[in-house]
């Protein structure tokens, strides 16, 4: 990554695009606190990003789930890490992504699409104000992808900020507020859909 400096406004839907190796995932990981920048600071809603962890939700290529647990068991564990004690909240999150919270099957037996959805549920159950999503549509069929897009649009309308990395920017052209493009570790351009279409 080289000299990336940017500021994003709250409540908007940002899509981050670029070639492989451009540094998109790295940028997301840095904001989430997983990678350390060699210089510079990262502020989330005015605080150091390491202090704002409960305000962020992160979803990666990997599912970040335990294979031997069911959906609820997984979420129950993660909820403890966020000091959340309510099953109802978890069930709501699971339903919101289109899965059944009463399903006792272990995640190991899920299809890729189901895993992706549960992974998203894990990122949103604690009601974060900033969502960092890395390729949420990569293993998902087109209909499910549309559902997820609608879900995310809904969250943006609720006032949440979304920063999403994807190679399939097309499906987001109606929903996204801004497109950011990275190449070789640098931020190359920012544009709105209107500008893109024009």
């Amino acid at each position: 990554m080289r000299n990336v400096s940017l500021s994003l406004d709250a409540g908007r839907f940002y899509v981050l695009r670029g070639d492989n190796g451009a540094g998109k995932s790295t940028l997301l990981r840095m904001i989430a606190g997983l990678n350390e920048p060699t210089e510079g600071r990262i502020l989330v809603f005015g605080q150091n990003h390491k202090d704002a962890r409960s305000l962020m939700g992160y979803m990666a290529h990997a599912s970040l789930l335990y294979e031997d647990f069911s959906a609820m068991e997984n979420l129950r564990f993660f909820s403890r890490l966020y000091s959340i004690d309510s099953d109802a909240l978890l069930e709501a999150a699971i339903r919101r992504v289109g899965l059944d919270p009463r399903l006792d099957r272990h995640v190991g037996q899920y299809s890729q699409g189901m895993r992706q959805r549960l992974s998203l549920a894990r990122a949103i159950f604690h009601g974060p104000s900033l969502l960092l999503l890395d390729e949420p549509f990569s293993n998902v069929d087109p209909d499910s992808a549309t559902e997820i897009v609608q879900l995310l649009a809904g969250m943006r309308n609720e006032g949440k900020t979304i920063l999403l990395v994807t190679h399939q920017a097309g499906i987001l052209s109606d929903i996204a507020d801004e497109f950011l493009v990275m190449s070789r570790g640098e931020l190359v351009s920012r544009s709105t859909p209107q500008q893109v279409h024009a």
């Binding site: 997983l34 962020m56 970040l64 294979e67 403890r80 890490l81 000091s83």
Partner: protein
């Protein structure tokens, strides 16, 4: 509910125990490994009862050391599958809670192994203790904790290395040498009844305190060393 370290540690511990109970990967291989080690050692060393009491300390702790290393190598494997460790790091939960939970989980696992191996040693070597057994138990508890706390720490370090399984014993063994020397000596002292292991026990206690504190303080740094 607060984010207190002990409560979170117990959450981690229960999760680990439950997951292990479901898959039993580590447990099964460990049990078989114990048996193999004891059998091999009994072929390698053919001793009188008196001689055995003297070196039993070394035999037993070498066997435990091998088993501990094998168990520890697995300790972080579950968190690395599917990148779950990242989910933990992204959450507001403090890293020390994860460390404490893992240490206790590994401690219980290794203790279980020792309880299973000890009777095998007694049988194969006709081992009986001249000194009081409660002293032996203290030595085992302290010694095991010393190995496990350093082992869990170095296993976490090894995550970011190329030869993960090899790195762990390479890092753990040199640092643990004083503790192992102490455990072996103490065990021999209790078994032969020749002298009091009190000095060793005090030493092991100091060792445990020093390294538990150091590993605790450095764990966050090591976990986020990226």
């Amino acid at each position: 509910m607060s984010l207190s370290i002990t409560r979170l540690a117990s959450v981690n511990l229960r999760k680990d125990l439950r997951l292990e109970w479901r898959s039993k990967d580590v447990l099964n291989s460990m049990l078989f490994f114990c048996l193999l080690v004891v059998v091999i050692f009994s072929f390698a060393f053919d001793l009188t009862v008196e001689e055995t009491r003297r070196i039993a300390g070394g035999l037993v702790w070498t066997a435990f050391l091998f088993s501990t290393v094998m168990a520890l190598n697995q300790s972080w494997a579950r968190e690395l599958r599917n990148g779950v460790l990242d989910a933990f790091r992204v959450s507001p939960a403090p890293a020390e809670a994860l460390f404490l939970g893992k240490c206790i989980g590994n401690f219980l696992l290794v203790l279980l192994l020792e309880c299973l191996m000890a009777p095998l040693f007694v049988i194969f070597y006709n081992l009986t203790s001249v000194g009081p057994v409660w002293q032996l138990i203290i030595v085992f508890l302290l010694g095991t904790w010393a190995l496990v706390v350093n082992g869990t720490f170095f296993a976490a370090m090894s995550i970011r290395t190329r030869n993960r399984e090899l790195m762990l014993p390479l890092l753990l063994l040199p640092v643990s040498i004083p503790a192992v020397a102490s455990m072996v000596l103490a065990t021999a002292e209790v078994l032969t009844g020749e002298s009091s292991p009190l000095l060793q026990i005090k030493f092991l206690a100091v060792y445990c305190v020093v390294f538990t504190t150091a590993c605790f303080l450095l764990f966050d740094t090591v976990l986020n060393a990226e």
